[in-house]
């Protein structure tokens, strides 16, 4: 102590001439022990922060992101994994020919077909069926549905010879998948000729049968019909129009038939019988593609919307007319109870409108039509029943009077479900629909996968629950199954797989817990925790900075000493 006092005195003596009032005395240099303790204290605090606090914070605020096969998903979306192909198996039966003749016919016809085809993804494969099995084609056709290995039979062609025919002719059965070709016996294929006229005829017939389907599939695959040169613009337009109008594919559709009338009559209709007779056969045909539930209602006193233009009486036609452009306002959505049915699946609404006697008959002005389709929603039919003697509507609509309406409704239903308009055989059209639907579902599920992949990449803060990952893997496995089935010509199985893929893809994309991030913005968290982090953080950081500075200074000093 005394020594330090002495130092102070001597310092005072030195400073005295410059600043006599200030008595300054530097503290003694800190002991290395104290410096080391301070270093340890600060290091301990920061160790707690870095090794305990930070991991806890990280753990509790991190978002769970399940691993997604992003690359696979993107490849599906870009169409690199699967190129949909449509090999159609067509059975050729030649009961009136010898085997070599038949084989020659098959070869030449196949050759002619391949020459005609310009769309590689969709091709027809002929297969000769021997006559013994020809009789029970129907059974085989059914059996092939269950047998996973065999391809679906798209069509059976029976080549029959018929006398008194000048040229070959064809007959397509409307109820089955059978095409009969009749040829005059003198045109029977001769094994030597390389291009017999019968083969050319069969090939052309087949080509014509699948013409619209090919165009449709080309449209689905490419988004436009441009890559098929020989498609007429009318056909292309009608195909794209059908796509705009048709509903999305669903497992179950609800059909809702409603009788609307502005007055009190008719208040009943023979709807059960009408549905049974006019609609049930069609729906049974559809059973392999979609299921249907039906509900019906009668709605009286259904007035037009006040916004809608009212019908105009046309003297020349002696009828009340609706302008074509006003048809969109015909349905009074605010007041008519047309809410969708409960349960999964979309609702198709069919409206039978009976105008009031004072506005009967009611037709569309431009083309005198009495029905129209509301795209992706349903159809409307204007029924003008004969008025009774005191000019009122009949109070009951019989099954027969409903016939035109239900014929129109079944046509509208086919259109709304996206069925092609040709060929005339309904089973063939439904088969075509299966292929078109399978292709479009495959593409839509793939593109959903691509969107999901891009979404998760572009938004790093959204959580990805494990259910999404499992849905994605389900989707991908079903997609590849669908693609394989398609390659082998099993289109029903392909449709079933594509349907599951689509459902799973939608489920993963619309997962609710993936949008939860919005509700806790980082700003909010900072505002809540700043009162705590501010006062604690400042001394800690200042302490750390001082300590770092000191260490840097010591190091420099040491280097200087060493030098």
């Amino acid at each position: 102590m005394s020594a330090t006092q002495g130092d102070v005195k001597s310092l005072q003596a030195q400073d005295a001439p410059d600043a006599p009032k200030s008595v300054k005395r530097a503290p003694p240099p800190e002991t290395s022990q104290a410096i080391y303790t301070r270093f340890k204290v600060i290091a301990a605090f920061w160790a707690v922060i870095i090794f305990l606090g930070f991991p806890i914070w990280w753990k509790t605020t991190s978002i769970y992101r399940a691993h997604l096969p992003i690359q696979d998903m993107l490849e599906w979306a870009n169409g690199k994994t699967c190129r949909p192909v449509f090999p159609l198996e067509i059975h050729l039966m030649t009961p009136t020919m010898q085997l070599p003749e038949s084989q020659h016919l098959l070869r030449t016809t196949q050759h002619a077909l391949d020459d005609l085809n310009e769309f590689a993804a969709h091709h027809l494969r002929l297969k000769l069926v021997n006559d013994s099995s020809a009789l029970n084609v129907e059974q085989r056709e059914k059996a092939s549905g269950t047998d996973a290995e065999e391809a679906d039979i798209a069509l059976t062609v029976r080549v029959l010879s018929q006398d008194d025919l000048p040229a070959p002719r064809s007959y397509l059965h409307a109820e089955t998948t059978q095409l009969d070709i009749f040829y005059p016996p003198n045109q029977a294929p001769i094994p030597s000729s390389s291009n017999p006229p019968l083969s050319v005829f069969i090939a052309q017939e087949l080509q014509q049968l699948y013409w619209e389907e090919k165009a449709t599939i080309a449209h689905v695959l490419s988004g436009e019909t441009g890559n098929l040169d020989s498609i007429s613009p009318q056909l292309a337009e009608s195909i794209s129009r059908r796509f705009r109008r048709s509903m999305k594919y669903a497992d179950t559709y609800h059909l809702s038939f409603s009788l609307f009338t502005p007055g009190s009559a008719p208040s009943s209709w023979d709807i059960e019988a009408a549905v049974q007779e006019y609609l049930a056969p069609l729906l049974n045909e559809f059973a392999s593609i979609s299921n249907f539930t039906i509900d019906t209602q009668v709605q009286l006193y259904a007035s037009f919307s006040p916004m809608a233009p009212s019908p105009v009486f046309e003297e020349t036609e002696a009828a009340w007319t609706l302008q074509k452009e006003d048809l969109s306002a015909f349905i009074n959505a605010a007041e008519w109870p047309l809410n969708p049915s409960i349960g999964s699946g979309p609702t198709l609404n069919f409206i039978l409108y009976v105008p009031s006697p004072s506005q009967s008959p009611l037709v569309v002005k431009e083309n005198h039509a009495s029905s129209w389709i509301v795209p992706q929603w349903g159809g409307v039919f204007l029924l003008n029943p004969p008025l009774s003697s005191d000019s009122t509507n009949p109070s009951h609509l019989s099954k027969d009077s409903l016939r035109p309406a239900f014929m129109t409704f079944s046509h509208q239903l086919l259109t709304l479900l996206g069925t092609p308009t040709t060929p005339s055989s309904l089973p063939l059209r439904l088969q075509a629909l299966v292929r078109v639907r399978a292709a479009s579902l495959l593409l839509s599920a793939s593109s959903t996968m691509g969107s999901l992949a891009r979404l998760t990449e572009s938004l790093p803060s959204i959580p990805i629950p494990a259910t999404v990952a499992s849905s994605v893997s389900d989707t991908l496995s079903h997609l590849s199954a669908a693609c394989t089935h398609m390659k082998h010509g099993r289109f029903s199985a392909a449709l079933a797989n594509a349907r599951i893929a689509e459902i799973e893809a939608e489920r993963s994309f619309f997962e609710k817990s993936m949008v939860g991030q919005v509700y806790f913005p980082d700003e909010h968290k900072i505002a809540v925790y700043l009162p705590l982090l501010g006062p604690i953080g400042v001394p800690l950081i200042v302490g750390l900075m001082k300590e770092l500075k000191r260490i840097v200074a010591t190091l420099k000093a040491r280097r200087a000493n060493a030098a």
């Binding site: 530097a26 503290p27 301070r38 009190s264 009943s268 039906i294 209602q297 006193y301 501010g534 001394p539």
Partner: protein, 625 residues
Amino acid sequence: MSDVPFILALQPRTSHGLGAQTKLRHEVMTVLSLFSLLWACIVFLWSAPAFASSDYHEQLFLQPFPQSSLLASFNFRSNTSQASFDNQHFRYFPRALGQILQHANTKELHLRFTTGRWDADSWGPRPWNGSKEGGTGVELWAWIDAPNDDEAFAKWITLTQSLSGLFCASLNFVDSTKTTRPVVSFEPTGDHPESSNLHLLHGALPGEVVCTENLTPFLKLLPCKGKTGISTLFDGHKLFDAAWQSMSVDVRPICTRQGDCTIQIEQTVDMVLDIERSKRPRSNPIPRPVPNEQLVCDTSKPYNSEDTCYPLEKVTEKDWSLSEVFGRPLNGICPLADSDGSAEYPVCIRVPHERGIFYTEGTKEFKLDDGFTRCFDLDPSKPFDLAIPEQPINIQAPLDEPILHAERTIVGHGQERGGMRIIFENPSPTAAVDFIYFESLPWFLRPYIHTLQATITGRDGLRREIPASDLVSETIFRPAIDRERGTQLELALSVPAASTVTLTYDFEKAILRYTEYPPDANRGFNVAPAVIRILNGVDSSPIYIRSTSLLLPLPTPDFSMPYNVIILTSTVIALGFGTIFNILVRRVVLVEEAEALGSQTIKGRILGKVLALRGKFGRKETKVE
């Protein structure tokens, strides 16, 4: 309509199917005590062939009450066969509701929208014996077919969600805490097969405000949609301006003994309008004082003078007409209701026969021989109006005395505890009343059932305390689970003749979590009305009374509290931390030494520079001088 039904009506109980007749007696008894004198008409209605070809009926019943009130009771009923209901072929039955019921496996549905309070002292017993009204707000109960309780509850949630969309009501807020399963308070009114496994679920939303948005979907369910028939009188402005109104939707299956079933939907709207108030034109709705010269004063009062008046009660009844009270005339009849000519009269009014009534030409009037009821058969093509001129009151249509008066209030003070007091008054001098008292309490109201006490005031007017078990013959109690379900209490009680019973019990108020408070927490929490089911006799169907809903004030926190807590704790922690950290890290030196060190710190350096600058400027100034 010819006179034939009228003649038939005078000799009811013609020979009809046995099954239909037992059913019929049941129904007749329901209605008897209120519209007791209308019975002939109603018996006729129910004894009509069980499944007539016309399956839609509607009727408006009007009854003026004393003090210028008017009860208007609308009833719409339609049937559909079970087969077409199952196949979803809907004609008069609304498709939207039918699909909801099928989707939720609901076999019987009762939905009520009620506002206001029924003034039993002035208006007597309730219409339909209270079976068509609900507690204030929305009340829903349904029998759901499900194999077990959990599935029944899942279906119930589906049902409430769908109905909430259909009726634009907050029924989706009926969750497990607001759902009860009453045991003895309700019984199915429809005929259900023995094999079905029915579950009764009941939910109430006492805070729901019933308004026009509920009326519009209600009207859409009717076949005539408010365009013709008695439903044209519905005007949201008048209906929801009523002193009391109740809308109901009931769906139930009705089966014959042979097993033919129909699904019946019955919709009713009952309202009590204040005639004076309803007659005010919409363009000028503000009430004006009666001009001086029209005041009838009690001249016998000593203070009666030019400027002081004790107004006398009117001796004449106010004049009114349908178009004045409802704002529009009745627009014809709904043609569906009358397709076979055997339907009931579309409009009936209960006033003494000698009172004059004017009505539109072309209307046929039928006076029922009870002396008070008359019905009208309308001309379908013309709007119908009915007017009662102002005339002196000689005879009033008699009002029955209600069988039981009930009142429920919350007593006590403070934020922690409270009590419930329920008063039952039996006005009958001879007969005791047996009833079931059903209460569903929210979970945050925790009753202490052991504190249940009863006092009875008999004929002598003396209050006596008696053990509650003397009155309560059966108790069904299901305690609450916090945040999962509410308390359910059903008491089978008996009140002796001419006495008043007061039941009290204590309860504790729970403290809610911060997020469980609604935005208007200080308003209080709604407690659903109690339901009282009076069982008088085995044969007749029950009479229902509902108490008013209650408002329970709960302790409410200051809602800025979490932020205050965060900031306060942060400050305390930061203070403590800062102190400890500084003690550990700072170097302790003497004061003089600190001054010496000062020149090395940032503060010291800045101070030094400032001093230097000041010195420079100071020198410059001196130079200029």
